[in-house]
């Protein structure tokens, strides 16, 4: 059997990947974060209407380590981070792998504005000279990065009103097909203040109960990270889980058990912020790859 050249060919990118992951660890350690590990096979994920977990015997592979990490926060662990594999059934595209590497980090006693600062600092620590050259474009990483609300994005980049999009269940479609391609790419961009119906595990903005404190970070047109001012009201969280689980059942999806230990311990947390960042997509940006398949040794198709 001849050498697998498609595998050998990726070695320079995978060497860069290894150094970037080492630099990420060094960054968080230097900023006083504790690296944690939580099981990747769990009895229950947070129910999300559009995220499907991969079953593993009578449990599931994690779609995110978020519930375990928030339990650690609630137990007083302080600033924590984790780099772990996550699985999402059926997600495969130029920016999606069904098994991928996620970086999550959390800070107690802060809100999502601190996360924006963290993102700016992390990328500047990883990219020399505060810039990225991605697919022929130069992305200036000098902070601060522009912040745009979802409301502003709808009024600037599409004919569809936010109200219409939500009423017709076309929010994701308009964001993905009409807004994302038009977002400026000369600098990274925080898209923030999502409608409460898209809040997930984010808290409602104090003083404006129509939006949640959630942001998505876009770099070079790629959606790189999703952050919340974490919802710490256990009753409201239980209520949202019930609604999301009802939506899952309505779509005919596998029912999920309620993550009771998480809900029981959440009330010990007063305030916190957390973020999930796709490492493979970050590698795409830092190594100038236009397909996520180039950032890993093995894609599912090659196994």
């Amino acid at each position: 059997m001849a050498q697998n050249w498609q595998l050998a060919r990726k070695r320079p990118t995978l060497e860069k990947r290894a150094r970037i992951v080492q630099a990420i660890r060094a960054f968080f350690v230097a900023h006083g974060f504790l690296e944690v590990e939580s099981p990747q096979r769990i009895p229950a994920n947070a129910p999300e209407p559009y995220i499907d977990a991969v079953p593993s015997a009578d449990w599931f592979l994690q779609t995110s380590p978020e519930l375990a990490m928030k339990r650690l926060l609630a137990a007083g662990y302080g600033n924590i981070f984790q780099i772990s594999h996550c699985w999402r059934a059926g997600e495969r595209g130029k920016q999606h792998l069904p098994e991928y590497t996620m970086l999550e980090w959390y800070r107690p006693d802060c809100d999502y504005r601190t996360m924006m600062d963290d993102c700016e600092n992390l990328l500047n620590a990883l990219a020399p000279a505060s810039q990225l050259n991605y697919q022929g474009r130069t992305i200036d990483l000098t902070p601060p990065w522009p912040r745009m609300t979802v409301k502003e994005a709808f009024s600037d980049y599409t004919q569809t009103s936010l109200k219409e999009a939500l009423a017709q269940d076309r929010f994701d479609e308009v964001i993905s097909l009409e807004i994302e391609p038009k977002l400026p790419t000369d600098k990274p961009l925080f898209l923030l203040e999502y409608p409460v119906s898209q809040a997930s595990l984010a808290r409602v903005k104090p003083g404006d109960d129509s939006v949640a404190e959630r942001f998505e970070l876009y770099v070079g047109g790629i959606e790189l990270a999703n952050a919340f001012s974490e919802l710490t009201d256990a009753e409201e969280q239980r209520c949202r889980f019930t609604i999301d689980e009802a939506a899952r059942r309505f779509f005919g999806k596998t029912p999920y058990p309620t993550p009771e230990p998480f809900l029981n311990e959440l009330s010990n947390l007063t305030s916190a912020t957390g973020i999930a960042l796709g490492i493979d997509r970050l590698i795409m940006l830092l190594t100038d790859c236009n397909d996520i398949s180039e950032t890993v040794a093995f894609t599912p198709e090659q196994l």
């Binding site: 050998a8 559009y50 994701d172 964001i175 993905s176």
Partner: protein
């Protein structure tokens, strides 16, 4: 019936009663939102190209068309000529119908031709084809790093990335489904 998770490049679907093939495909999913399946489709009869985005939950009828075993004969001004070896019937495919697959045809190759009535509207090639490299820049001395690649052109005019040790005149194996280099063929 197919569901969204079956969609991929090359899949043949019946849309408005006519056979269509997916020529480009991408999966996209915003944040925590709904999955979208972006397809560029070619109407296999008219050749018309158009984009369509599907959402999970949609289903599709397969375009069940007859495929016939044929042999590639030659190319002339009418197009690419194939022959059914049992009936000696000949079918001609245009360059547009073949697309990039024209680069992987070699004389006497056994292929499957997709038929719509008496008209050939598509082709299924063998998974691998051997083609000779006709042009590639020479290997630079000292360049021994694993994974180093360079462009090469093969006898059919197709250009692809190959390892740096591949020189002009050698025979290489190409995966016709991805268009990628597989290995050097020992002669």
């Amino acid at each position: 019936m197919y569901s969204c998770s079956d969609l991929k490049k090359g899949l043949k679907l019946l849309i408005d009663g006519e056979p269509h093939v997916i020529v480009q495909y991408d999966f996209t999913k915003p944040g925590k939102g709904q999955a979208l399946y972006k397809c560029k489709l070619r109407n296999m009869i008219t050749g018309a190209l158009f984009d369509r985005t599907y959402r999970s939950g949609e289903s599709f009828a397969p375009a069940s068309l007859e495929e016939r075993d044929m042999q590639y004969l030659y190319q002339d001004e009418t197009g690419y000529v194939f022959m059914d070896q049992k009936t000696y019937e000949q079918v001609i495919l245009s360059e547009a119908t073949l697309g990039d697959e024209k680069y992987f045809l070699v004389d006497n190759m056994e292929v499957k031709i997709l038929m719509y009535g008496d008209t050939g509207i598509g082709i299924t090639l063998p998974n691998f084809v051997n083609l000779r490299v006709t042009q590639s820049d020479p290997w630079v001395k000292g360049d021994t790093a694993a994974g180093n690649n360079k462009p090469a052109t093969v006898e059919t005019g197709y250009t692809l990335q190959v390892p740096s040790f591949v020189e002009e005149g050698i025979l290489i194996q190409i995966d016709t489904r991805t268009g990628e280099y597989v290995t050097r063929v020992k002669e």
